[in-house]
């Protein structure tokens, strides 16, 4: 990986970046700034390496070749993010949740405006406050933001089928001040949907009566989280097959939340309070 390249090779690229950054007017830079440039170089090299069997055969590629190829990939990813954002934004719905609206509506354009492919591609710039269901890991820069926006796009597709009124109804049943929530709204809607699927009620129907909740309670009583996950998997799959085209990505995304949801359902079963998840 990175250690395969000599430090001389990397330092030469860093020196070039530093000179360009300061317009050849400063012959020296602080350690901190130099470190930032080195991170930029390593980030691009990493992109070049991860592109794998792409344009460059890795064995023969020099650090500079990989760096340049990586930088092109980063630029392409920024283009993809812009495309994704432009596709998403006309139909984008934040359902009154300020955190989601701000992160996507204000954060992403600010990122696109300020992201520096050449001198600081490793900087994420945004805190991405609205949480998504997928673990974005240690990724930074464009990788993190593009990944994040892909998650948002999948969520919008999932929530879009329910309609704004239905989603906001679920959210207000969950929390009167749902506008200030910093939780994933997809998870709240998914929890409610699972209630409908387990109670064998159509997804668009509203409200659970005491008997329905009691039946679900009996059905789930004493089951482990793994057993609950198995119980949920099949009806959820049927639901996705019925309502969504190209559902593989969506199913994969929602699967990230299953351990969390099953833990919550199990807790509610134990405490006889399923109405906290199965909301309307």
């Amino acid at each position: 990986m990175h250690s395969d390249y000599s430090q001389e090779e990397l330092v030469a690229i860093v020196a070039e970046l530093a000179a360009q950054y300061f317009g050849y007017e400063h012959s020296s830079v602080t350690y901190e700034r130099a470190q930032g440039f080195m991170e930029a170089v390593l980030y691009c090299i990493n992109e070049g390496e991860n592109a794998g069997g792409g344009t460059l055969p890795l064995r023969d590629a020099s650090a500079r070749e990989l760096y340049e190829s990586g930088r092109r990939i980063v630029t392409e990813k920024v283009g993809k993010l812009r495309e994704l954002y432009n596709e998403l934004i006309p139909e984008f719905e934040d359902y009154g949740v300020a955190c989601l609206g701000d992160t996507v509506g204000r954060g992403i354009p600010a990122f696109l405006q300020r992201y520096d492919v050449k001198f600081a591609p490793q900087e994420t710039l945004l805190t991405l406050d609205y949480p998504v269901l997928k673990d974005l890991g240690a990724a930074s820069g464009i990788d993190r933001v593009l990944n994040y926006m892909t998650c948002i796009s999948v969520e919008q597709r999932f929530l879009g089928k329910f309609g704004t009124a239905y989603v906001t109804e679920i959210l207000s049943a969950y929390d009167d001040d749902y506008g200030d929530l910093t939780e994933n709204i997809c998870e709240i809607v998914l929890g409610n949907l699972i209630g409908h699927l387990l109670a064998d009620k159509p997804p668009e129907s509203r409200g659970f009566d005491g008997a329905e909740l009691e039946n679900v309670q009996k059905m789930l009583q004493g089951k482990s989280e793994e057993a609950l996950a198995r119980e949920i998997a099949m009806p959820l799959q049927f639901f996705l097959e019925r309502y969504y085209e190209n559902r593989t990505v969506l199913a994969e995304y929602l699967k990230n939340d299953i351990p969390n949801i099953t833990a919550r359902i199990r807790c509610c079963v134990q405490n006889h309070c399923l109405d906290r998840i199965f909301l309307i």
């Binding site: 020196a15 012959s27 901190e32």
Partner: protein, 180 residues
């Protein structure tokens, strides 16, 4: 990772071009100044130490040839203090690159240093470092940017607290000396 980072930063700094230091002799000799191999070695060593102390990395030939070019015709630069003066100027330069938060370019800083060294400090390094540059750095950090138009020339008098020319005092002294 930390040790590795330090390594590459040191590596970048150690790429000193002693030959480039010695090449400056070609144009400094007409001012009666020259560096020996030993001097060049010492200057390179001092550069490495200063950069480490100031936590800076320098790529390429670095600032020393430019310092030499700027100061070689100074009235206060003599062969017997040449090497030590360069070491001192190099130290001051890096210190104030940091103090001025890299807001000022190499050329602007050198121009300012040279002007003060000649006209205000009269060859006094301590005054250059501790007063002139100290005050100027404060102004830069506070957001002053007038040096961009002047390229660093004629800047210090805007911040100087000492009256450098007092006409009345001059006439009084002149009267005392000449009219008695």
């Amino acid at each position: 990772m930390g040790a590795k980072q330090e390594n590459w930063l040191e590596l970048a700094t150690k790429q000193t071009q002693m030959t480039q230091f010695l090449e400056t002799n070609r144009y400094t000799e007409k001012f009666g100044l020259s560096l020996s191999q030993e001097d060049a070695k010492l200057l390179a060593q001092s550069r490495t130490e200063t950069l480490k102390r100031e936590q800076r990395v320098e790529f390429g030939a670095g600032i020393l040839p430019k310092i030499i070019e700027t100061f070689c015709d100074s009235a206060y630069m003599m062969q017997d203090n040449y090497r030590d003066s360069l070491i001192r100027l190099q130290d001051i330069f890096y210190l104030y690159k940091n103090e001025m938060l890299d807001e000022i370019t190499d050329d602007e800083l050198l121009e300012f240093m040279r002007e003060q060294f000649e006209n205000v400090c009269f060859g006094d390094f301590d005054y250059l470092e501790g007063t002139c540059l100290y005050i100027f750095a404060q102004a830069i950090r506070a957001g002053y940017s007038g040096y961009m138009q002047s390229q660093g020339r004629g800047e210090f008098e805007k911040f100087d607290m000492v009256t450098r020319w007092d006409k009345d005092l001059y006439l009084e002294t002149l009267k005392e000396l000449a009219w008695r």
